[in-house]
Symmetry: C2
Subunit: 217 residues, 2 copies
DNA sequence: ATAAAAATTTAGACTAGTCTAAAAATTTTT
DNA sequence: AAAAATTTTTAGACTAGTCTAAATTTTTAT
């Protein structure tokens, strides 16, 4: 078995590798896990010994197959619990992450299987992120950032790139929920802000900052 | 906040105090927590410093009001999660305890409140144990051991004193489930085993060992 | 190509929780 | 009431994960 802490490192390495290209650095891991680079170095040595990562000193880090398998298992648990919290208990998408950070470490395999069945085998978590398969595959999704949609197109909000409660609460306030239809009316040439019509009703101005973090199809 | 480990000690002290009379001893705690007496001594000093227990060296231990409040909170979480696992996910009453041992330490208050509501504010866990109130009171229940019921009486199975999977699986096998009606037909004078009729149907012999661990009303 | 800056690792220390072995206190037996 | 047995506590050590400070390696800038 692997510790709570090891699971968190693996998960974080996976996320950073997916978001950046190239190797994952010690410093970026330190920032993400809210620890210091020295602590990360120690842990990397340990994970490398256990063959969960490829690691050469000073050269950054990459998950081994086994490491990735474990990371995806943790991410799967996390996202399934998020669905439970949102769909069954009525938590907002801005509230579920923190609790799922704890729930993802509950060990029983059977628990995740049954929870998955109870939820009807969901494909996506409340933020639109795909749930890894039981076999340990991350489903590929092809979404576009709202900031890159051409004027006149009508698209649907499918996910977010930024997951902070503040951002999600902002979306709630403006009505930009998952699944809502967005017609791009105009792009401001100066600040790249976007004028959109939501669900064929109200018109809204969306800053480029927000548009870059909204995934649509 | 209190650590996972501290919560476990408080919970265990509560259970031991409820089951024995008098003070809870270092050795009994060591046995229950599967550690050594030396480790328990250390932890007791720490819990006493935090005013969660009354503790005089060599004299055993008793929860303070605050300590009991915390213990009951943990027990409440444990039992609510057990209800979820059994009722919603379909786990057997012999399977839920182990998972609940982990789930009981998830920190969010709001989570327990919402889970409780989702489950319809259950009063009892899958073993018939009462769920402490949100205010931190342990409901009193007055059950009798099946071994003490007089011949001719008809009673209902309300709970168990022994919680091991083996015992619970044995009850499953013989059909002695929670809520089932039991008519005491005869008590064997030699070994105190009991002859009972279940739900007005099949007749069964129940050893004294089993009868002593079955709670009825 | 070297110096300066930045990133990373090592060294040594700390905390929580555990252990074994030894010491001290309490309880039981005679 | 003293001796023996039992229980409990203390002392000192270990592990996982963290930290700061110092040393080392890599990268960037001149």
């Amino acid at each position: 078995m692997h510790s709570f802490t090891e699971e968190n490192y693996l998960k974080t390495i996976y996320y950073l590798a997916a978001r950046q290209e190239g190797e994952v650095t010690t410093n970026s891991l330190a920032e993400m896990t809210a620890t210091k680079a020295a602590s990360v170095s120690d842990m990397l040595r340990k994970l490398a010994e256990k063959q969960l990562i490829h690691y050469k000193k000073y050269q950054g880090v990459r998950l081994t197959e086994e490491g990735e398998r474990l990371a995806l298992k943790v991410i799967r648990r996390h996202r399934i619990w998020e669905v439970f919290l949102a769909e069954k208990l009525g938590f907002g998408w801005d509230e579920v992450h923190e609790m799922a950070e704890e729930l993802e470490h509950i060990r029983s395999e059977e628990l995740v299987r049954k929870l998955d069945a109870f939820l009807g085998y969901p494909q996506f978590d409340p933020h639109g992120d795909p749930i890894p398969t039981p076999a340990g595959q991350m489903p590929t999704v092809e979404y576009t950032k709202l900031s890159e949609v051409t004027v006149g197109a009508e698209v649907q909000v499918m996910g977010v790139l930024e997951h902070s409660p503040e951002f999600l609460q902002h979306l709630d306030k403006t009505g930009l929920n998952l699944g809502c239809r967005v017609l791009v009316q105009d792009v401001n040439a100066f600040d790249k802000s976007v004028s959109v019509q939501i669900n064929h009703q109200k018109t809204l101005f969306v800053s480029n900052e927000v548009a870059r973090n909204l995934l649509v199809n």
